[in-house]
Amino acid sequence: MLNLLNGPQTMGRGRVFWICAALVLAAALVYPAFADPYDVGNFGYFLIWIFMALGLCVMWGLCGMLSFGQTFFFGIGGYAYGVLAIILGNGPAATIVGLFGAVALAGLAAAVLGYFMIYGRISGVFFGIVTLSFTLALAFFLGQTAGPEWAIGRARLNGFNGMQGMSPLSVPWFGGPVVLEETALYYVLVAGLTATYLLLRVLANSRFGNVLVAVREDPERAELLGYDVRRYQLIAFVLGSALAGVSGVLYTSWGQFITPSSIGLPAAAMPIIWVAFSGRTDLTATLVGTFLLLVGFQTLTIYSQETALVVMGALLAATILFVPRGFVVGIGELLARPRRKRLAPALSPDDARP
């Protein structure tokens, strides 16, 4: 299985790449020793979003389905966790039910929505439109839940102000449960992200990943090679959307609040910008690019949120106009060029569709 870490669907390969990756991981692991726990917690915030970016990379970059619904599933995961955590209270048992319940709910929602879209032969731009509609509907719906009648048990949905006060994730540990905040949360995020990234790499280069790429390139041809194309699309959609659910749970637990604005249009556009800018066909590029954009966006937001949004929009426009395959992928290929003459390029200019 380890040999599938490298393959046609992943750009970074070879010893230099893996040494660099190990160095980055090592730096991430020792970082808390040199930083204030509060800053470590804030740094962890950036990692939270990368799960949903990787999910979009799988369904859009590998399988060719542009979903505008990452924040829809993010919202389902986040709100479900909020409700469960408020009802169940503190402790590892509540965490397990809250985390897995919320992610499962996001996955289930993706399976139902995906089933009707994919088996209803909705594809291309309409896939984006339908998923966006659901996203906006959920954001509007949650925005009007301010009244006391909108409550599940003790958990009030609170309209535009959103939910708050849910207990964060906690894990059992020697000498009592550890609440996942600041440094502890950071380490869980680093571990979770590393595992997700490596597993998705294996998946991308496996038989399954080969079929996803075939479906992206030409669904009819893929079906005529004997693959049940719609089933593969559905699995990719559920997987990618469930990862958005993971981000939602982590976000809610991290800040102990969630509002409809993390679902609505500006938020929904973000994953697409991250992944397009980075290079949607590559997991490593998505990971690196998303992280850089999040840090940049946050830095700009401190000065002016409007400026940050305008810059993000400009970056998306620049990506589509100048580097349709993504900036990080482009830079990665430049770096790899002298060493990779003999190997097949993972992508071609023909793939340069926005």
Partner: protein, 240 residues
């Protein structure tokens, strides 16, 4: 002996236009069966009905003794059909080797994949271009690559929709030899073809379609000798 593929009174209408009506076709095991006819005769539509891209308006299709009339294309392929479509439809943005890999991984154990890839690359004379993107190949090479992908599925019935379209006469002859070699190895072939010299080279049975109907059926010699077949090709109105 029952036919490997049995098409019975199959029809397809698009709106008011009847592209294929009441067509019967049976392909016996071991044949190289060529489907010929003037443009617009309904040959490609019939192919799409056989492989399941279109659902028929009427009639039935049986393959290897099973009724596949309502089966999805992928299910028919899993049952042992494989098609090379009319315009070369390879995965242009992927390397040649990966194109074959995607087709091969169905039936090939992972440890034998690379050897099978090499074998096919050699068979298709594409070894030197294995790392190229399929879209960078010449038209003829793309046609061959797609034939390679189709045979990588180890089908019992290989469907070829104009395998020689756009090929030079040299390439056409090579393609014919390849098809005969595959047939000798036990693969039944059904091909839509325009090039009569090519049909003469490979066919063991010929069905002629005209205006959406089966017009004639027989050996190559019989078909070539049939004056009414020549008439439909030359556009002379056929009496009766």
């Amino acid at each position: 002996m029952t036919a490997l593929l049995q098409v019975g009174r199959v029809s397809k209408t698009f709106g008011g236009f009847s592209a294929v009506s009441d067509v019967d076709l049976s392909v016996e095991e071991g044949e190289i069966h060529c489907l010929i006819g003037p443009n617009g005769a309904g040959k490609s539509t019939l192919f799409k009905l056989i492989v399941g891209t279109y659902a028929p308006t009427g009639g039935h299709i049986r393959f290897r003794g099973q009724d596949v009339t309502q089966a999805k294309p992928f299910a028919r392929v899993q049952l042992g059909m494989s098609i090379k479509r009319q315009a070369p439809s390879v995965f242009k943005a992927l390397p040649v080797r990966q194109n074959l890999h995607i087709a091969l991984q169905h039936h090939t154990a992972p440890d034998r994949l690379e050897r099978e890839e090499e074998r096919l690359l050699e068979l298709l004379a594409l070894s030197a271009d294995a790392a190229k993107l399929a879209g960078q190949l010449s038209h003829g090479q793309q046609q061959w690559l797609e034939i390679g992908m189709a045979i990588a599925l180890k089908p019992t019935l290989l469907l070829l929709d104009e395998p020689t379209a756009g090929l030079s006469s040299e390439e056409t002859r090579h393609t014919g030899e390849l098809i005969k070699r595959l047939n000798a190895g036990g693969m039944t072939v059904l091909a839509v073809e325009h090039d009569m010299a090519f049909v003469r080279q490979i066919a063991t049975a010929v069905t002629v379609m005209h205006l959406g109907r089966t017009f004639a059926r027989g050996s190559v010699e019989e078909i070539v000798a049939d004056p009414s077949v020549a008439e439909i090709y030359l556009g002379v109105p056929h009496a009766g």
